[in-house]
Amino acid sequence: MTGLDTDIAHLLAGAMVLVSFLLLYQDRMFALLNVFAVHACVLAFSVGWQAYLQRAPHLFITALIALLFKGVAIPVALHRIVVRLGIHREIETVVSIGPTMLFGIVLVGLSIVVMLPLTQAEGAFVREDLAFALAVVLLGFLMMVTRGNAVSQVIGFMSLENGLVLAATGARGMPLVVEISVGFSVLIAFFVVGIFLFRIRERFDTVDLRALDMSRGESA
């Protein structure tokens, strides 16, 4: 492959990290959803590019899933849920945006540091792709941890999972990638449906997980 090809892949991976940061930055629900849609689209592009590079047509399926399911279906569904639940107020953040961003940067640094000792045989680009993927994963995780609201946690989880798909596609010729991405889509569907169910069963007046934790097996 030519340097340009890898550069593009590299660029896309980098873009995902950037978008992850944008995700962390959002403090409005709808904006968050839109940014996530972008996140998914970038993933779709990068996966598609990998499919083209690796001459692996099956990866296009993954790309397609990313584009349609995560880029369109889920955001729309979540949009409706948000409206239905009437939680399109500000996202209450457990840790305020600023420190979160700072910590995010630290995480990116960390993910690069841990990737450094990889032997050169891997080729610099794969290594840095990995670093980016790891960064996306960690940022997604960070989002799950710092957001006190189920919908944004779902989004955090999904961005985390995007990072995984990025890594998986980055790994050349890795089998089962499609199956895995499908599996994850199922997982996310569970997630969303779960939130939805909780709502319409009116067991919990809000999907804020703190409320979800009200009913303890053994009340302290």
Binding site: V114, M115, P117, L118, T119, A121, E122, V126, L130, A133, L134, V137, F141, M144, Q153, F157, L160, E161, G163, L164, A167, A168, A171, R172, G173, M174, P175, L176, E179, I180, G183, V186, L187, F190, F191, G194, F198, R203, L212, D213, M214, S215, R216, G217, E218
Partner: protein, 483 residues
């Protein structure tokens, strides 16, 4: 053409539960469903037992060796007795209106699906496939935990689901990294995901990648094993789900996840340049042991208490395997098998207790040896067995583990002993409240329904007194394989 017996066994092992799942979705009558459930599990056990003698050829996807045969047989055994127990259990749940017949269809189907997933995870030679199987197993158990649809149950399921999926995600990342490490030596494609190949060639892999991957795998699969600090889902899931599921979780699923961890530990062990996985496993094991021991003291819910005891024992086993060496591995293996049998049988007892007493609150239960003598004494025996007193198998394994550890790393053995004592005293504290004390209640429980519990405990006692030569040699061989 005639089918090799090994292949036939494998087909039975995977086919029976798969078929069972399909059939059971279709069966409306829950009694028939329960019966079918038992029979399918029996077939699974038979085929698992066959695997002890006949092995199929290893492929890139499936591999049956001495190691996973142990897990398969133990798992199938527990699966069978649990299905037998649940047959009696769910009937009562129906009368109590806690479940509807429609739920039971799902319940039975999911039960078989779970068995299927776990068997696949155990026999899969492909780390990706193994990952998928474990994910499926997790999701099924999530649904089963939430089956009562009470607040607590849903909350437990939700917690389990979220933490579980995160764990799954981490495990996947680790898997990808392992693939990356393998891919440059074994070429792209499935070959680089076949565990047997990877383990064989891991010596030449990039140590940095392996290190990184093991972290993610340890946390990812460790979540399923229930190791502290990623254990949080386990107690609630055990406490709120139907008791048979608690039994299966403690008796099987934890082992399966542990098995996955072991496979990757072996990959790590193959490479000298990596940081040793042992210390990490040992420290996490010790942490789990001590933490669970202290947590048992203040438990008010009987099932949650035994769930913590599962964490404790998983910690012990992880520690044993982390220590490595023929003796410790042998002890860990034995402990794993004994814990599955004992803990599941304890959960059988606990299920009946909570049904009879109508509560899971320890404070409301007392004098079981008087109100339901057989059940009460069986519980006492079970707790004594799980607490590691003779003449039960757990004592044998703990004897080996403690003595071997003390001779190698005394202070570690001291910590181990401390944790054991803490957990022991906590269990005993609770047991005295449960089993003894004056009560005017009298429960009538037909003895045959206690058969699964009694049989498993008898098995554990027998293993503690006399372990047949072939089994010993087999376990020793496995222990040597585990390095």
């Amino acid at each position: 053409m005639s089918l090799a017996p090994g292949m036939a066994a494998l087909i039975g092992l995977l086919g029976a539960p798969a078929l069972g799942a399909l059939v059971l979705v279709a069966t409306r009558n829950y009694r028939l469903g329960a019966a079918l459930n038992v029979s399918f599990s029996a077939v699974t056990l038979l085929s698992a037992a066959m695997l002890y003698w006949y092995r199929p050829e290893p492929t890139l996807y499936l591999l049956v060796d001495d190691v996973n045969t142990v897990f398969l047989i133990v798992g199938a055994l527990v699966g069978l007795s649990t299905s037998a127990f649940s047959a009696g259990y769910i009937a009562h749940e129906l009368q109590a209106r806690r479940l509807r017949p429609r739920d039971l269809r799902f319940y039975h189907a999911l039960y078989q699906l779970l068995m299927f997933a776990m068997n696949v995870a155990l026999v899969s030679n492909n780390i990706g496939l193994m990952w998928v199987a474990i994910e499926v197993a997790t999701l099924t158990t999530v649904v089963m935990v939430g089956i009562y649809r009470t607040n607590a149950a849903l909350e437990a399921a939700w917690k389990y689901f979220i933490l579980g999926s995160v764990g799954i995600a981490l495990a996947l990342f680790g898997t990808i990294l392992v693939y990356l490490a393998a891919e440059e030596h074994l070429g792209q494609g499935t070959a680089a995901m076949a565990w047997s190949r990877i383990a064989a060639h891991s010596a030449s892999f990039d140590p940095a990648l392996l290190n990184l991957s093991f972290i993610f795998l340890l946390l990812g699969y460790g979540t399923k094993v229930g190791l502290v600090p990623v254990h949080a889902w386990l107690p609630d899931a055990h406490a709120e789900g139907p008791t048979p599921i608690s039994a299966v979780l403690s008796g099987l699923l934890l082992n399966v996840a542990l098995f996955a961890l072991l496979r990757f530990k072996l990959i790590m062990a193959g490479n000298s340049a990596v940081i040793a996985p042992g210390p990490m496993m040992v420290s996490m094991g010790l942490l789990s042991l001590g933490f669970a021991g202290f947590m048992i003291f203040r438990r008010r819910d009987i099932k949650r208490m035994f769930a913590y005891s599962s964490i404790e024992h998983m910690g012990i086993i992880t520690m044993a395997f982390g220590l490595g060496g023929p003796l410790a591995n042998f002890a860990g293996l034995l402990h794993m098998a004994m814990h599955s049998l004992t803990k599941s049988s304890i959960f059988f007892g606990v299920g009946y207790i909570s049904q009879l007493e109508g509560t899971q609150q320890i404070a409301d239960i007392r004098g079981l040896t008087q109100s339901a003598p057989l059940l009460g004494w069986l519980l006492v025996v079970g707790v004594i067995a799980i607490a590691g007193l003779p003449p039960f198998g757990v004592f044998t394994s703990e004897f080996l583990l403690v003595t071997s550890t003390f001779s190698r790393i005394p202070w570690l053995a001291m910590l181990l002993g401390l944790g054991l004592i803490v957990a022991f005293s906590a269990m005993m504290l609770r047991l005295h409240g449960l089993a003894f004390g004056a009560t005017d209640q009298r429960f009538a429980l037909p003895a045959y329904r206690l058969a699964p519990m009694a049989l498993q405990l008898a098995l554990v006692a027998a293993a503690g007194i006399y372990l047949p030569g072939p089994v010993v040699t087999w376990f020793r061989h496995v222990a040597s394989l585990l390095g």
